[in-house]
Symmetry: C2
DNA sequence: GCTATTGATCTAAACGATTAGGCTAAACGG
DNA sequence: CCGTTTAGCCTAATCGTTTAGATCAATAGC
């Protein structure tokens, strides 16, 4: 593989000159530049990114740490991030934690070895001190989807509380009084925020909070299915379920189907996080739509702003939207 | 950020010794090693990956070039690849081409600048010569999902022809005689293979191929929707549609819905590529299931084998499975 | 006409790791 | 007891870039 010296030799100039024409950092005579460019062409020369990084102390790589890229929410978010990153000459290094804090630890160490220029991080919620140390050591981090509880850091998030509030209000306005909520991981900020929205809606309508209606689905299909099976098998089951993420919505639907209940006939469902095919479902799902693509885009934008120093750290909240379809029944007396 | 010299100084040894304890490349006295390790700990030292790469000429990075990571098929594939890569100390650099050959070109150049150790590539099908040059220059490439037509190269693929054959047979056996097929991008190998399976099934049952029933959906939801709208609005429409990827299956369903046709009552549908929620659809979708996670895993496995030199280049075909659900009607006389 | 500036180029020192080769002292084989 | 090996450590070259500083000629300013 050709190096800068090979190019320099072939063009009859010094390596410095070649570097100048590559980066445009100093003026070079037009005909010299042309000679250099031709030499690069002929040798099929590509500057070695490792050497550049070593010298310039910048990698043009952004680390992305999410729980699971096979989750459409994160997949779309990453797509948004990548589209934006590419436009600015950055690449993405993908890390799936599987919501495991040990994996998160390993990845954060890996990414700091790789000297990534910045990080997009959806924290599991238990590595606060480690993340704090990273930030102190100058690592640029933008949190996505969630934010660590005790850190005021730049982040791009959804309006979780407002979304949960809307979803719950929608159910109440359609006559539901006993509304189950399937919550995600306890240490993740979205869980707390969505629960807050749920509580606020209940309070707004003067409804008592029944602790028995709060169940935890570990943010996964299987977890939600088990939780909902238990919830719906109780003596006094809820008439509606609010599932606080996309996977848990599927889990809830599976539980309903397994118990041979009819949705929305016997149990209504609202899900948090829309997905492309929610409309084609049986029944078409009523959901709170987030904008994962936008989150990814804006997160990279924010991060690049941080890197170039001309943008202050801030928290961005992207709007959500209730999409009413067919999974919520209107109860008499509602 | 601490360097190896800082560690060496603090531990009272030379940089070479530090390197030896990091990599275990030469014997080091236990107490010396302990001192070094403590120094690394205290300084929170992480070896600079760029410097290591420059010196060792290996990056432990695998480039992954797919059309769209927001497509669940590729998202799951990447997840499988990542899980496998991590276990062997490799990271993934993600590139979305959007099926655009110019993007593919840019990315291939970028990845060769980054000196990735290898490549997982789902080629758009039009950059054959460029890819050939890359291979000639020693780049290790494993093709995923598809393979460039004129290159016999290591690849991990699905049994596309067999899958399409099964899907088409299933429709024929249920009495369908006029079966529309929605094809993807013409230059992509999966398109040709799936069409071949379709033809073989027709031939096997002695049915004539009607060219009018072949339509192209550009591998996308919108493209398939338009194509199916046209197809189903003709004087003599098909009684069934075989959509040859997941997105185009959605597009076909949208078209059917838009024309107020009933599925499976008036039009039956089989899709290629299952997705997690196909069962929850209305109607539950009959699909040919691939194993994208397995493709990702095996592709990385193959690539690492290539890198270590103890595995010969080969083509792997992963089995597919017809999952019969509710989107195919049985016609009288079938 | 002299000094200051600028354009165009070069030389050589970094950046932070790995590793060949050298040295010393201890262990070993016969 | 002597030659050979080996453990344990060090020095210094090297990987492929960027860039500060030097050089020299041409141009500009006065």
């Amino acid at each position: 593989m050709a190096t800068i010296r090979d190019v320099a030799a072939r063009a009859g100039v010094s390596v410095a000159t070649v570097s100048y024409v590559i980066n445009g950092t100093k003026p070079v005579a037009p005909e010299t530049a042309a000679r250099v460019r031709r030499a690069m062409e002929e040798l099929d020369y590509h500057p070695d990114a490792s050497a550049q990084s070593l010298r310039t102390r910048t990698t043009h790589v952004i680390g992305v740490v999410v729980s699971d890229i096979a989750n459409p929410f994160f997949a779309t978010l990453v797509r948004g991030a990548e589209d934006c990153a590419r436009q600015h000459g950055y690449s993405l290094l993908i890390c799936n934690t599987g919501e495991d804090l040990e994996n998160e630890r390993i990845y954060l160490s890996l990414l700091s070895r790789r000297r990534v220029d910045g990080l997009l991080l959806a924290p599991t919620g238990k590595n606060d001190e480690l993340i704090g140390r990273l930030i102190d050591r100058g690592m640029n981090i933008v949190f996505i989807d969630r934010t660590p509880p005790h850190l005021q850091a730049p982040a791009v998030l959804s309006q979780n509380e407002a979304g949960a509030y809307q979803a719950t209000c929608h159910l109440i306005e359609r006559g539901h009084r006993r509304i189950g909520i399937v919550l995600g991981l306890p240490d993740v900020s979205t869980t707390a925020e969505r629960l807050r929205g749920y509580r606020r809606a209940l309070a707004h309508y003067g409804l008592e909070l029944d602790e028995d209606l709060l169940v935890y689905g570990r943010s996964q299909v299987a977890g939600a299915r088990e939780a909902c099976l238990a919830l719906l098998s109780r003596p006094n089951p809820p008439t509606a379920i609010f599932a606080t993420n996309n996977l848990m919505t599927i889990g809830a639907m599976q539980a309903i189907r397994k118990l041979s209940l009819r949705c929305p006939g016997e149990v209504s469902v609202v899900g948090f996080d829309d997905f492309e095919w929610a409309e084609a479902f049986d029944p078409p799902l009523t959901t709170v739509a987030q904008d994962p693509y936008g989150i990814g885009q804006q997160a990279v934008g924010l991060l690049l702003g941080l890197l170039s120093g001309d943008r202050k750290p801030e928290q961005v909240r992207l709007p959500v939207e209730l999409r009413v379809r067919g999974s919520v029944a209107r109860l008499e007396g509602g």
